[in-house]
């Protein structure tokens, strides 16, 4: 049984976030990031499933002096698995990926994902060339994840085994143009 609470993990990673840039995959990871505090430098997705890591890569290549964190789910990550190979080929030192792995498609009725049947996403990331790739099962390990995200040599990958809870929805803004504009204004200044 997975032990970690996804909201607590994300809150720990995003408190005192400083200059961190965040991309949140669609569904529960976007709600988790919003529950930790809606922020102009978080870009939450409402669609384009499978794209979260690649948005993170484009951002990390564009802003090599900033730390970039992708927070996504196991289903979203499985849909874009090839992106791990693409990131592995670029090896951005400033990019970290945290997969909140509840082993379920949480938005569609809690059907099992491939990780419930044994797919080891961290092993995939390691094989693709990530500098660090680990499965996280205990709260005591979350501080390691945090120091990796903010200071570690990337690309880093953490697969956090979280409970398959259905938690209250905490929704970010839905207007994609607004989300894009506020992110760019906060990062780049008035355009």
């Amino acid at each position: 049984m997975n032990a970690l609470n996804r909201r607590e993990v994300v809150a720990s990673l995003l408190e005192r976030r400083g200059e961190l840039l965040v991309v949140a995959g669609l569904g529960a990871p976007a709600w988790d990031c919003t529950a930790a505090g809606d922020h102009p430098l978080t870009f939450p997705l409402w669609g384009a499933m499978g794209s979260a890591c690649m948005i993170g890569l484009g951002l990390a290549l564009a802003k090599p002096a900033r730390r970039v964190l992708v927070v996504t789910g196991d289903g979203e990550m499985l849909m874009g698995l090839g992106g791990l190979a693409t990131i592995g080929a670029q090896r951005p030192g400033n990019l970290a990926v945290v997969v909140l792995d509840n082993e379920r498609y949480g938005e569609t009725g809690m059907q099992k994902t491939h990780t419930a049947y044994g797919t080891d996403l961290a092993a995939v990331a390691r094989a693709c060339g990530f500098a660090t790739a680990r499965i996280i099962r205990r709260n005591a390990e979350v501080s390691d994840v945090r120091s990796g995200i903010y200071r570690g040599k990337g690309p880093l990958f953490f697969q956090a085994k979280v409970k398959a809870d259905a938690l209250p929805l905490v929704l970010p803004p839905r207007d994609g143009a607004h989300l894009k504009h506020r992110f760019r204004e906060a990062l780049l200044g008035a355009q």
Binding site: S51, L61, A62, L187
Partner: protein
């Protein structure tokens, strides 16, 4: 599998991939992602050789839609190279560009047109312009090498200055036909 590529005489005379590369430079494109096509071989080489560009090989074309969105969020411009079969892989990811109004420049070498020798390329090639239109992407056509500079600049300006999703469809007549004959 490597077939000979036969080119039209105008394509021999004018270095149209270099003209596209210059258009990308003029629009300050910094990230160029691609799934290779024989028709993009020279442009991919030019982008890899360009120290001002990050050339990013993809495992599948829709990755490039996400990459371009992330680049734009970080203040950089990105272009995406593929052949027409890859357009089908992009359809749902294109909702990212249309929902958020991200600029997008796709350079698509066409298969399934005049002289195609692989019948399996015809289906997606023929569906490509309409599929892009349905996904909210404006299409422009490049038919002749001598038009490459003007058309590529128009496409790049439409993408980045008007901030729209644009695909430049590069005619199979221009890139040549894969012959499937062994090299001798």
């Amino acid at each position: 599998m490597q077939g000979k590529i036969s080119k039209s005489s105008s394509a021999e005379a004018i270095d149209w991939p270099a003209a596209i590369h210059r258009a990308l430079k003029a629009q300050r494109v910094r990230q160029v992602s691609y799934v290779p096509d024989a028709g993009h071989k020279r442009l991919i080489e030019l982008c890899h050789a360009d120290k001002g560009m990050a050339a990013v090989p993809l495992t599948t074309e829709e990755e490039g839609i996400g990459l371009a969105a992330g680049a734009w969020l970080g203040g950089e411009r990105s272009a995406l190279l593929m052949q027409s079969s890859g357009v089908g892989n992009c359809i749902n990811a294109l909702s990212l560009a249309s929902s958020c109004g991200f600029p997008l420049l796709m350079l698509v070498t066409m298969r399934g047109e005049t002289g195609e020798r692989n019948p399996w390329q015809v289906s997606m090639g023929q569906a490509t312009p309409e599929a892009l239109r349905l996904a909210g992407v404006r299409t422009l056509r490049l038919e002749r090498a001598e038009e490459a500079s003007a058309v590529a600049n128009t496409a790049a300006k439409a993408a980045f200055e008007e901030q729209s999703a644009v695909a430049l469809l590069i005619s199979q007549q221009l890139i040549g036909v894969k012959s499937f004959e062994e090299k001798r």
